[in-house]
Every structure is written in structure tokens, then in C-alpha cells.
Amino acid sequence: MKYAAPTTVDEARSLLADNPGSRVFAGATDLIPQMRSGRPEPAVLVDLKRIDQLMAVSHGEGKWTIGAATPTADLTRNGAFSGMFPGISEGAGLIGSDQIQNRSSLGGNLCNGSPAADSVPALIAADARAVIASSDGTRTVAVAEVVTGPGQTSLADDEFIVEFEIDDAPANTGDAYLRMIPRTEMDIAVVGAAVRLTMDGDTVTDASVVLGAVAPTAVRVPDAEAALVGSRLDDDTLAAVSAAASAACNPIDDKRGTIEYRTQVAGVLAKRAAVIAADRAQNGA
């Protein structure tokens, strides 16, 4: 296995094109444990962290642009970004310890393909887009379309994500991400729930509800969104959100949680995240 550290997107592109079986990485926080547990080594490890574009966070023209390899710590420490998207920031900030936060990235968290990825539900709730470099240029797809199943993505072998684009949140919009883990830190989400709401006074005018760790990929919950829009988040609405979230679950039993537990707690977290998102929409983060 060889290590390569290209400094431009084009250089990375040609490395991938010329060396079949190569693999890009940013923080390697998933890759190295996977290699240690027996996953085959790639022919060439392509380190994306020396490409400036992939390590930058910028704002302009009504959107945020986040380099795919940027450490999530840079995102959570970015006050302007975290102020506009507290839910994305808190999801990104839950990926492991401070040690991990200085390595983990939105691109890696997404492309690892785990249904439990903490940064993904809130990105989907914000309709974030991934700008993907391939051998013949770039293409832009919704984040929701990147992961197709556990460990599976829609990216071709020679493609990688360059950056994410997130349109500025409309006025009176708030988002929130909650996850259930048995400890307070250092665990993989047993259930994750992101909610983004736009409010007019105390009435919800737009809603996104996305769950993690309860299905092969992160899932949107249209029934919960429908229950929220037009509501004032009264108890009946929250009960409907809970029920819709639980109904949207298609989880597995594993060492981290049972089907029964994940299904029930998804409803709890969706409801709680909605309350937090509404508060942020009305009062700011």
C-alpha cells in the first residue's frame, strides 16, 4: 500500500484514475479501524487533506461551502456557521472525541456509509448538496442521494466529494440533532434524529425530519413533516411526530440496540428535536 498526498483536485483525480483499487481518505478515523479488523488495504491511499479546497469553509452568494475533508472541529468552532445551522454543527460535533473531531470530516462521515453517521441527518434536513469530482469533471447531487445502503455509496470508484453546499437557512428557521447513545460520549448513535423547522410566529411553515441508525440509510419521515407543517407543536402534533418517526423505522437488532428500543426512542428524539428546532427558529440558536 502506498500513501499519496495530492495538493490539487486534478492531481487526486489522476491518482485515482491511474491506480485502480485506490481509496481517498480524510481523517481515517473509520478507515484505520476497518483495516485493523481485516478489511483489505487499498493499492494507494489518497490523502485529501493537503488540497486547500477540501479544507476550507466559506460563505457567499447565499450559501455555505464546506470542504469535504475539513475537520469537523473547524465547523463546530465556526460561530457563524454554527449560529445558522446549530443542528448540523451539533451532529458534526458528536462524531467521537476531541481527538476524532480534529480528524473527522463531513465527507468521510458520509462516504463511510454508516446509517448511524451523526452529521448526515441534519445535512439531509438542510437539503445539503455534495459536489463530486470524477474523472470527467464535477457533478452535484443531494446528500440524501449519496449513501445507498450500509457501507455503499452512489459514487464511482474514481469519484470523491470535494465540498458540500448548504443554502442559507430562510428567516425564522432552526434545526436540531439529537442522538441516543448509552454513554455520554464516544459511542455510535443507536438512534439519531434531525429536525429543521421554519416558523411563522408559532406556526410551523416548513419542516424536515430525518432519522439515522434506524434503517439501512438515513431516512426522511414525510408523515412527521406533514404533521408538523401548519401546526403549533401542540401535544397532539408531537405525538403524531413521534408515531410517524417510529413508524418510519426499519432497524436491526445488534450490539448497540434492539429493534424495539430503536423504534421507540426514534419517536422520542424526533419529538424532542422538533421542540428544540422550533425554539431556535423563534428565538435563535
Binding site: 448509552p182 464516544m186 450490539k255 426512542v265
Partner: protein
């Protein structure tokens, strides 16, 4: 905070100096086993069984041997067949399989190669043919009629030899008339409990470097709680004389009982012998979890009867411990740990059962936490039923000197009442339970042990001293040895260098286990100091030209009324005497060796305030206090550290730690990601109250404090959960899915 009965006026004992080995540990210089390298060393790796129970039909090492860098491969055939009566028979079979793999992860073969990646690749290339055997994976399966045998070499201990069995011990204790007492009781509570396997979770994986020379002499550097035991186990497994093996203890990165046995050293010794080069072996975390000893799993049924005024009149208990694939005495020790209350009528039936899982190892007060979880939970139910304060109920029934343990041994002077009183008087217990929270308390007991220890005190020419012991320091014991020596000799604690010496530099010393180091080895240190003081007085008498019986040792100096004038005489300091050692008879050195009698049991009482998120089943520990009888705290900071560390291990055991096996007996969560030991953000500060009821069998009253702290937390938390929710949790861990499921059932 310390609650001392009669504080004696000590100068050094009870103070908090910076530990002597501390500097090296904060600058990265302390040498742990994996930090050591020898010139020309090879690296070892192990091929492990992919099956929970299988006959080994053949092992083909040819491909591995042909791989780059590979020097030597060993299998079970490279080790002698031990007599089944050899105390290390099971150990030898656990270290490397001979014909049968008894659990997933059991070592089948080992490789030494130039680099670790080469050794790992070669280990993976070893081909083994297996015939699958039925795997027994639970206590119930193990104890069922007609159950398949876990291990055909296992026979029940302490009974006349019979057929092979899945039971290693059967213990029946009986006193009074339990049936009559239960029939007459005003309140009878009965509950069933179970506990999953948990691991000691030391952060340092097992590691060693072993060099076997052409003369057969073997040097071992390793991470161990007892290097003399490493010597005897390594020699036994290889069929060698013990004098061939020298073991030097490296700094040890946590043990908690788990490093009282060996896994790697005999393999590395044989690899080194065959290769003619030193061999280094270091386990991965996954190997630690899959192939080293967890604490047993257990199932328990406890019935307690009480009168309306709170007398606990009878206990009827059934406890079975699942210890993995080799014999053990966990059930017997579990019975020994039942000792907190008077219980005039007692029946305790215990079993040690085998399953096709890794061989259990000691873990801090082994077997006691399980029993205490069950008994202290039922005692809590009795208090609730009677409407009594849980401390008052326990005070009314607390064992005192002369009361019998379940085994029928009378307690020596013990401090349970004092611990309960200290908690009752504490700020925590007298504070209001926070809004939305609830409080639980529970008691823990551990008997502690004595065993054999040696110590040598060498006085240096300048009046400083070196104290050599054979007790690996797993939590500050070197500082305690120095403090006791300083107190005895009357010289400054920093002028003493405490050393953990190798097996050829100090007399035989048992393992640092059973909370025995500060007690037993401390006793040997004090005895060696007393011997050297006698010699110092002789030397002083000759310098002063007085009779030795006119010389007293006071504050680090010899004084005699007849010397130098004045009422007490002109003192002759230790340094003044050592300076003249050559002239007065040569070096000043003394060695004491003993088998320490009179280990003092240590009781603890814990108190927790917790809250429960009833929608997710998550428990938050808001406040925690550990009260424990130390006898005398030699270095209070490290005594508190033992209370706090034990408490937090227990909190982890209570809430999240467990081995999760799949249907094939493969551990599903063999990583620190999914074997969830507590992290800093899970916890509050752990308040401590050191109770000091001195142990009369130790010169400074030491009881030993290492283990008891892990005994009360599980019931403490369970009792608090019950207070918060009305749900009695009887299965460990009380993890969010289990608690939420119980809460769901409550509301239905």
C-alpha cells in the same frame, strides 16, 4: 474526608507525598512492557480459534513458515503434557490448545517473525481443520441435565473423583433453620438476578519481551500483578525448573485482577528458545477482550426474611457463576463474600459452571459484586416493605466482631457499623435529594488476604535507604512502602527509594491481589525496618560505648542516656551510623519474609443520587459517595483513588458493561467502542469518606482497600433506580434498552 477512631500521632503515615515513581509517569519515561525492546528481537502473533468449541484435526503451518520474515511457529505439540494434578494444568491448556479449542479466541498456534505485520500475516496463514463440537454458552445450558461437556478434562473439585462435569465447585452452607425462620418472618422478599460477563478493562494490553538463551536461561520482562507467579506459571507450562526463569516486572498499566495470570509469556519463551532470539508479544485490544479473562457471569436467587422491627432473620440463596471453559472457584468465593449481616439462619447453595467462553480471571473482589448486587437489592426491598430507612435497617443487622460470615468464620474487628454511621452523618446523606432524582445505598464486603511477602531494606552510606519488595505497584504501593519505612526508621520519605525488584533480587512474594500489598508486603517492610533498627542500635552502642539495651531508637536516631551528656543523650542519627558502617561491622541491610496472618476485612457503604430519563431508559449519576474502612490510610490520596476507581468500575458494570455473544459464541463487541467503560463525562466527582478502624494485625492498622469499592455500586444504582421509577432492575447491566423495556412493562 477521613473519619478516624483514635488518630495516632504518625509523622509520615497518613501524609500525601508525591509518589516516587510519579515523575517518570508524567514525562513519558516510565517503562511499560510494550515500551521495552531488545536487540535482534522478533515479534510474535497468535492464531486463534474461530469456533467456540471444536476438535482440532490438523494444523498446517507450512505456508506460514514459508512466508517472508517468519522464523518459527509453535503449536500445542511444542509444550509438554502436564499431569492433570498440576495446579497449572488448566492454565497450560488455556495458553495454547492441545487437541481441542474450548472457546472462540483460544490460542491454537504462535508465530515469531522479524516484524509484527509479518508475524500477523503468517499467523493468519496457518490452516487448521476442525470438527465442530456442541458449544455450551450459558449457565442454564451448562447446568441442564444431559448438557454436552464444555471441557472433558474438568472434574468437580473437593468431591471424590467421578465423571467429567460442567460444574467446577458445588458449595452448600447451612446454619440455623432457614425454612422455619422464613415461615415465621413478617416479611419475605425473593428475587432472581443475573449478571453478564464483564472485563477488567485495564488500558494496557498484555505485553512481554522474553529472551531464552542457549544455556536455557530465560529472562522475561512483562506486565503483571505478580512476577513470581509469572515465573512459576511460565516454568510449569514449559516443564522447566523455576530457577531457569527470571522475571522483571515492567510498570503495569492496570490489572484489577486480570493480570494475576499469564497468557503470552510461555508462548514467547518457547518461540524465543526455538528461534534463538528475543521475542516480543503485545496483544491487541480485540485479543484482550476475546481471549483474556473476564469476570464470571452469574445467576442468583435470593430470599430474605425479616421481622416487622427490621431484624433480618434468614437468607436462602442460590448462586451460580459461569466461569468460561476451565475450572474455577467463583461459586465458593461468592459464598465467602456473604458476610455483611448477622443472618442467624442461612442457607447458601453456590455453583461454579463452565461454558465455552474465555477462562475467567480475577476482577477486583472476585465473585462478591454479583452476590452483593442480589443481596443488597433484596435488603433494599425489605427496607421499603418495612418502611425503614435503608441505613437504619443495615445498622440494625450489621455484622460486628464475632458475628459469623456465611462460611462460619467469625469476623475479627470490622468497621461496617462505623461506615454506616459515617454515611449517615455525611453531607451527602443529609442533603435533600435533588428535584427529579432519587437516592440509593448499598453495602459491600471483601475479606482481603495476607499470603507471602518479602522485603529487603538496604541503608546507604549517606543515610538514605532503598526498600526492595516483590509486589508490583498497581496504584501507588511504592509510596506506601516508603511511608511505612520512613515512619519506622524516622527518616524522610523522600530519602527512601522504594523498588519493585525482580525475581532474583528479592525473596518470594505473592501476587499483588486480594488487597494484600500494603497489608502483607507492608508488614514485611516494617519487619525488615525493625530488624535493621536492632542492628543500628547495636552499631550505635559500639560507637557510644554503651550497652545495647541502653540504646533507644527515637526519631531516626539512636539515643542513650549515657552518651554525650544531657537527659536523653546526644542522638546519633541514622546517617551518622551508616557513615561508620564499614568500621562497625559492614553494610546495614535486613530482609524479612513472612506469611502474613490477620488480613483485615474491609466494608464499604456507597450512596448515589441518580435521575432516569423515562423515555429513553438512560440513567445519569448526579452525586456519588463512597465510604470505606481502610483500617489506616497510609497514603490517603491513593486510598481515595482506590475507592473512586472501584466505584466507577462498578458504575460501568451497573449501567453499560457486558460481553455480548452471538449464537455461535463469538463476542460481538470486542472493542473499547462497544465494550463501554465509563468516560469522564458520564460521571460526577466521587466523594470519599475514609473510615479508619485499625486492623490489629498490622503495625499501622492497614486493612487493604483495593477491592471492596467495586462491590456496592451495582446495588446502589439499582436501589436508586427503584426509588426513582418503582422498577426493580434485576439484570446487569441496567442498560437503556433493558430499563426502557422494564419501564414499558410497568406502565402497562
Amino acid at each position: 474526608m477521613t473519619a478516624t477512631e483514635h488518630p495516632p500521632a504518625y509523622k509520615y503515615v497518613g501524609t500525601r507525598p508525591i509518589r516516587h515513581d510519579g515523575y517518570d509517569k508524567v514525562i513519558g519515561k516510565a517503562r511499560f512492557a510494550a515500551d521495552l525492546n531488545l536487540p535482534g528481537q522478533l515479534h510474535g502473533a497468535i492464531h486463534r480459534s474461530p469456533h467456540a468449541h471444536a476438535k482440532i484435526l490438523s494444523i498446517d503451518t507450512s505456508a506460514a513458515e514459508a512466508m517472508p520474515g517468519v522464523k518459527v511457529v509453535v503449536t500445542g505439540d511444542d509444550f509438554p503434557a502436564l499431569d492433570p494434578k498440576n495446579p497449572n494444568f488448566d492454565l497450560a491448556a488455556n495458553i495454547i490448545a492441545r487437541g481441542v479449542a474450548y472457546y472462540h479466541g483460544h490460542a491454537i498456534a504462535a508465530v515469531a517473525a522479524n516484524t509484527k505485520p509479518e508475524a500477523q500475516a503468517a499467523a493468519a496463514a496457518i490452516k487448521v481443520e476442525y470438527e465442530l463440537l456442541p458449544a455450551v454458552l450459558s449457565i442454564d445450558e451448562s447446568m441442564a441435565d444431559g448438557a454436552p461437556l464444555v471441557n472433558e478434562t474438568n472434574h468437580t473439585k473437593f468431591v471424590p473423583p467421578g465423571e467429567p462435569s460442567n460444574l467446577s465447585t458445588i458449595t452448600n452452607l447451612d446454619r440455623g433453620d432457614v425454612d422455619d425462620a422464613l415461615a415465621a418472618a413478617d416479611v419475605v422478599i425473593e428475587r432472581e438476578f443475573d449478571c453478564a460477563h464483564v472485563h477488567q478493562g485495564y488500558i494496557e494490553p498484555h505485553a512481554c519481551v522474553v529472551d531464552t538463551g542457549p544455556d536455557g536461561k530465560t529472562s522475561v520482562w512483562c506486565s503483571s500483578q505478580g512476577h513470581f507467579r509469572v515465573r512459576s506459571m511460565t516454568a510449569d507450562v514449559l516443564g522447566w525448573d523455576k530457577s531457569r526463569v527470571k522475571v522483571t516486572p515492567a510498570e503495569i498499566g492496570g490489572g484489577f485482577g486480570g493480570k494475576t495470570t499469564v497468557y503470552l509469556e510461555p508462548l514467547a519463551a518457547r518461540l524465543s528458545e526455538k528461534a534463538g532470539k528475543p521475542v516480543k508479544m503485545v496483544m491487541s485490544r480485540e485479543e484482550v477482550l476475546r481471549a483474556t479473562g473476564p469476570a464470571p457471569e452469574a445467576k442468583m436467587k435470593i430470599k430474605i426474611g425479616a421481622t416487622n422491627d427490621g431484624e433480618l432473620t434468614a437468607i436462602d440463596g442460590w448462586m451460580a457463576y459461569g466461569v468460561g471453559a476451565f475450572g474455577d472457584m467463583a461459586g465458593l468465593i461468592g459464598a465467602m463474600s456473604v458476610a455483611s449481616y448477622k443472618f442467624p439462619n442461612l442457607r447458601m447453595e453456590t455453583y461454579t459452571a463452565l461454558t465455552n467462553t474465555p477462562k475467567s480471571a480475577a476482577y477486583r473482589a472476585p465473585s462478591a459484586p454479583h452476590a452483593a448486587f442480589a443481596i443488597e437489592s433484596v435488603v433494599d426491598e425489605v427496607a421499603l416493605e418495612l418502611g425503614m430507612d435503608p441505613i437504619e435497617l443495615r445498622l440494625k443487622n450489621a455484622a460486628v466482631e464475632g458475628d459469623l460470615t456465611a462460611m462460619g468464620m467469625p469476623h475479627p474487628r470490622v468497621g461496617l457499623v462505623e461506615c454506616l454511621e459515617a454515611l449517615k452523618a455525611s453531607d451527602h446523606y443529609n442533603s435533600e435529594v435533588p428535584e427529579g432524582a432519587a437516592r440509593g445505598v448499598a453495602v459491600g464486603f471483601w475479606f482481603n488476604i495476607g499470603e507471602e511477602s518479602s522485603a529487603t531494606v538496604n541503608l546507604n552510606e549517606d543515610g538514605t535507604a532503598t526498600v526492595l519488595t516483590g509486589s508490583p505497584d498497581i496504584g501507588g504501593s511504592r509510596a506506601s512502602m516508603a511511608l511505612m519505612a520512613a515512619e519506622r526508621l524516622g527518616i524522610d520519605v523522600y530519602s527512601i527509594t522504594p523498588v519493585v525488584a525482580d525475581t532474583e533480587a528479592v525473596g518470594f512474594t505473592d501476587v499483588t491481589e486480594g488487597s494484600r500489598a500494603t497489608f502483607a508486603t507492608g508488614k514485611a517492610v516494617v519487619q525488615a525496618c525493625d530488624m535493621i533498627i536492632d542492628e543500628l542500635k547495636k552499631r550505635a552502642a559500639s560507637i557510644m560505648s554503651v550497652d545495647v539495651d541502653q540504646v533507644a531508637w527515637v526519631d531516626g536516631a539512636a539515643v542513650s542516656a549515657g552518651h554525650g551528656g544531657g537527659e536523653g543523650g546526644e542522638p546519633l542519627t541514622l546517617a551518622a551510623i551508616t557513615a561508620q558502617a564499614k568500621r562497625t561491622g559492614g553494610p546495614l541491610t535486613a530482609t524479612a519474609s513472612l506469611n502474613a496472618a490477620g488480613a483485615g476485612p474491609s466494608f464499604a457503604v456507597h450512596c448515589a443520587d441518580i435521575s432516569v430519563d423515562e423515555e429513553t431508559g438512560v440513567v445519569s449519576v448526579l452525586r456519588y459517595t463512597a465510604v470505606q474502612d481502610a483500617g489506616t490510610a497510609i497514603h490517603p490520596s491513593y486510598v481515595e483513588g482506590q475507592f473512586q476507581g472501584g466505584s466507577v468500575q462498578g458504575i460501568g458494570w451497573a449501567l453499560n458493561e457486558e460481553y455480548i455473544y452471538n449464537a455461535d459464541g463469538v463476542m460481538d463487541n470486542a472493542s473499547f467502542l462497544d465494550y463501554r467503560i465509563p468516560v469522564a463525562s458520564d460521571l460526577p466527582l466521587i466523594e470519599t469518606i475514609i473510615v479508619e478502624v485499625p486492623n490489629p494485625a498490622h503495625p499501622y492498622g492497614v486493612r487493604g482497600v483495593g477491592e471492596t469499592g467495586i462491590v456496592p455500586p451495582m446495588a446502589t444504582i439499582a436501589n436508586a433506580i427503584n426509588a426513582a421509577t418503582g422498577v426493580r432492575m434485576t439484570s446487569l447491566p441496567m442498560s437503556p434498552p433493558k430499563l426502557l423495556s422494564a419501564l414499558n412493562k410497568r406502565s402497562k
